[in-house]
């Protein structure tokens, strides 16, 4: 192909290197120099979230990976990884708008068999327990006695953990994450509760696997700081081609060790009935978590939380799915506290962790949310034995009743 660099009539302004670099990094079309806004749009389109076709080959790729990683002769060359992966508790991701299937059993990892694998699994379990203890110590959530021992033992090797004479008795929210990475254009969606329109008809969601998110857990009563990295909860989707859902991986705690994350889906549910909102109107979404019964103090993380709404139009054709994101949050839950965090009341502003303007899906007409939405998130906890209750709500007028409550044991 012959390329001609000579300027044409109406040619765009010269492009300096810095602007070119910003264009390549996803410069907003509104900030592009004269003549380069269409280029910016093209480049940002290249960074659009993957569509269903681009996500379709996952099952096949994973199956091939399993086959290729399995040595010939029936003996595995390497010890299997301890199963820290989250399971798909709560059902599969709704492919579009049908009811969510619940109770899907997580797919078990191929573990082969034999003493060697069992030994590796036991070894891995010991490592997990040890790491969990270190994390718990770091966050000051061990009982007083063990916390003190951990304080001295880990202090001897230069790891600062709380002494254990005080436990957190109040909730503190740990906002995470400045560095959450998504699948969209890198310069877009900098607001905390981003909304994005999803192509109607297809399953929605970012499809991002382990979007690295750095969460810093800080406590007013901690002497140290625990930094954890999160692999995002994977979005599990029912294979439209009949393939089984793939339980995705997600771990938390790269700084001190991994803890488990389990995906949860609640809905679709329409707590606000036949809600009609004008395009551009703010729509707030949020959730609350609690730990019922007797339990140790724990830090519960809600990762990559979002609600996928299914909108129709009051009149005329249009509508489609759109997403309101809530990012990542962590809540320190006091021992045996049955309270809801960050709040119990559905009109508590703290319980609305995200908001977004309702997109214009109906050519300027009212958008109807009669079908409600589906709440999706990865739930992680330092406590992998006790259940966490989750419920969500949404509102266009500061009210917004709660959904039904769904329970999950992170890591189960």
């Amino acid at each position: 192909m012959i390329h001609d660099d000579r300027p044409r009539p109406g040619a765009p302004a010269p492009l300096d290197e810095g602007t070119g670099e910003r264009l390549l990094r996803g410069l907003d079309p509104a900030d592009a120099p004269p003549g380069y806004a269409p280029v910016s749009k093209v480049l940002r389109a290249l960074l659009a979230p993957p569509d269903a076709a681009e996500r379709a080959g996952e099952a096949e790729a994973v199956a091939r990976f399993v086959a290729l990683r399995k040595p010939a002769g029936g003996r595995r060359g390497q010890a299997p990884a301890p199963v820290w992966r989250p399971s798909a508790v709560g059902g599969t991701r709704p492919s579009n708008r049908g009811p969510t299937r619940r109770g899907t059993k997580p797919r078990r990892t191929r573990n082969g068999g034999g003493r060697q694998n069992r030994r590796a699994l036991v070894g891995g379990t010991v490592v997990v327990v040890a790491v969990a203890i270190v994390i718990a110590a770091g966050t000051g959530t061990l009982p007083n006695g063990p916390q003190g021992v951990a304080h001295e033992a880990l202090g001897a090797i230069g790891v600062s953990v709380p002494a254990g004479d005080n436990h957190n008795t109040t909730s503190h929210e740990v906002a995470s994450p400045a560095g959450a990475s998504g699948e969209g254009p890198r310069s877009a969606g900098t607001h905390s509760g981003g909304g994005s329109v999803v192509g109607g008809g297809g399953s929605s969601g970012s499809g991002s696997g382990a979007g690295g998110t750095t969460g810093t857990t800080a406590s007013s009563k901690q002497t140290g700081t625990t930094t954890g990295t999160t692999g995002s909860p994977s979005t599990t989707q029912a294979g439209g081609d009949g393939s089984p859902p793939i339980g995705g991986g997600g771990t938390v705690g790269g700084g001190g060790g991994p803890i488990s994350v389990t995906e949860i889906f609640i809905g679709p549910q329409a707590m606000e009935g036949d809600l009609k909102v004008a395009p551009g109107a703010p729509l707030a979404v949020g959730y609350a978590v609690s730990m019922p019964g007797h339990h140790a103090a724990a830090t519960v993380s809600v990762l990559q939380a979002q609600v996928v709404f299914n909108a129709t139009c009051v009149s005329g054709i249009g509508g489609g799915d759109f997403i309101v994101s809530m990012g990542d949050r962590s809540y320190a839950i006091a021992a045996s506290s049955g309270s809801w965090y960050p709040g119990d009341h559905s009109n508590d502003p703290a319980t609305f962790q995200g908001s977004s303007a309702v997109p214009d899906l109906c050519n300027g007409g009212l958008v109807r949310l009669r079908l409600g939405g589906v709440f999706e998130a990865g739930i992680g906890s330092t406590d992998t034995t006790n259940q966490v209750n989750v419920r969500w709500h949404y509102s266009a007028d500061d009210n917004g009743g709660w959904s039904h409550t769904q329970s999950v044991v992170p890591g189960s």
Binding site: G10, L43, V66, G250
Partner: protein, 188 residues
């Protein structure tokens, strides 16, 4: 990009954890497919399949950080695409020019408003209309998220040459849009 969690996820994948491999796949595959859409055209799915097979078998030999991993994957993809081209000895011939889009405005700047949205496939087709080297560099910078040095490593050129190619690619695209807008003016 996975960020700080990448080393852990990679290590898990090396141990055979298919969930970790799936996480890596989900993170890289869409961009890989888009890149291959430019350099391998209609063969992109087959090439991508070969790439992931090679990644699966060679995972233990990889050392490096996330950028290095992406560089490795895209280098592998480039080589596999070249192999496909050798076999088929032709480059996909379906191109989409800006004039195929609905740019019915009266000036280049006004065309911005007309081009309200563009699909990813259309964007890939537009990039493919660029000279091959420019198209490849633009795709590696954008969809692979790699810096100039990494892209230079993949395409076997000096970093300065990569910058020039990307710059020319962007300018060429802008000129195509300007030309399309001008045609719209003439037509009116």
């Amino acid at each position: 990009m996975m960020g700080p969690s990448f080393p852990f996820v990679l290590e898990q994948a090396r141990r055979g954890d298919h969930g970790a491999f799936a996480a890596i796949w989900r993170d890289i595959h869409p961009g890989l497919l888009r890149y291959l859409g430019v350099v391998a055209g209609e063969n992109r799915e087959d090439v991508a399949s070969e790439v992931w097979a090679q990644v699966a078998t060679s995972l233990d030999r990889f050392t490096g950080d996330e950028q290095g991993f992406r560089t490795w994957v895209f280098t592998t993809a480039r080589r596999r695409a070249i192999d496909w081209h050798r076999r088929s000895a032709r480059r996909p011939a379906v191109y989409l020019k800006p004039e195929h889009l609905d740019v019915s405005a009266t000036s280049a700047d006004a065309s911005v408003g007309a081009l309200e949205s563009i699909s990813t496939d259309a964007a890939i087709a537009l990039i493919r209309s660029l000279p091959a080297a420019q198209a490849e560099v633009v795709m590696l910078r954008v969809v692979a998220g790699l810096d100039v040095a990494r892209v230079a490593e993949i395409v076997g050129k000096q970093p300065g040459a990569v910058r020039v190619l990307a710059h020319r690619g962007l300018r060429s695209l802008a000129e195509q849009f300007a030309g399309a807008a001008l045609q719209g003016t003439v037509a009116q």
